[in-house]
Amino acid sequence: MPTPAVHAPRHAPRVRLGCDVHPVAELAESVDLFGERYLARVFTPLEREQCEGPAQLDRLAGRFAAKEAVVKVLELPPTAAVPWHDIEVRTGRNGVPFVVLAGQAAQLALAQGIERIDVSLSHDAGIAMAVAAAMPVVEPAGGATEDEGA
């Protein structure tokens, strides 16, 4: 009996990925050079509040990497004005980070059919990294009957 072929359904949503790494030392250097101006320009008050503590710089570097990963996943045109605050990386009650978009970043995501962006952050040995996954809007199951039963 032949093994039936397995096909991904044609309506399977395409998840887009973006990633970035960022040296913690570079962020520390910016804080040393520009202090509050740098922090206020790049990070939202909530991001700064949620990063407080002894690992503050590592966590902020992770958030910067996440913002960059989101920029990549959104495939922004060079003319898109996306202030750093418009990509906010929040930590949920369960400790899992998630992204909240505003302004042109939110508009671009909507236009691209992106429903939400998940992120994963890590930092070790002076390097912070992040992966962002853009989750597309899932169409209702009723619109995909042609693939069922194949």
Binding site: H22, E26, L27, S30, L33, F34, R37, Y38, R41, V42, F64, E68, V71, L76, P78, T79, A80, A81, V82, P83, W84, G103
Partner: protein, 82 residues
């Protein structure tokens, strides 16, 4: 004078692989090694040097892509009364 100051800021903060003095005004700064994070430092240093503030609508990759583009942006900001 403006371009000289921009090149000085780029040498200090742009993390370019080559001296800014050796770059054409239309050379791609990102291709020359400037990262997005370095462009934040460049922007803040330019604000100090020219006593301007980059508004949100100018925070695009295109604004900081070349020395000529930066110079043009500063020109528009300097023309706005404080």
């Amino acid at each position: 004078m403006t371009d000289d100051t921009i090149r000085r800021v780029l040498d200090a903060h742009g993390k370019l692989r080559v001296p800014a003095s050796g770059l054409d005004a239309d050379a791609d700064l990102y291709a020359a090694g400037m990262s997005s994070h370095a462009s934040v430092n460049v922007m803040l240093a330019l604000e100090d040097a020219f006593e301007v503030e980059f508004p949100d609508e100018l925070l695009t990759k295109q604004t900081f892509c070349t020395i000529a583009a930066i110079s043009a942006a500063i020109g528009t900001l300097a023309a706005v009364p404080a």
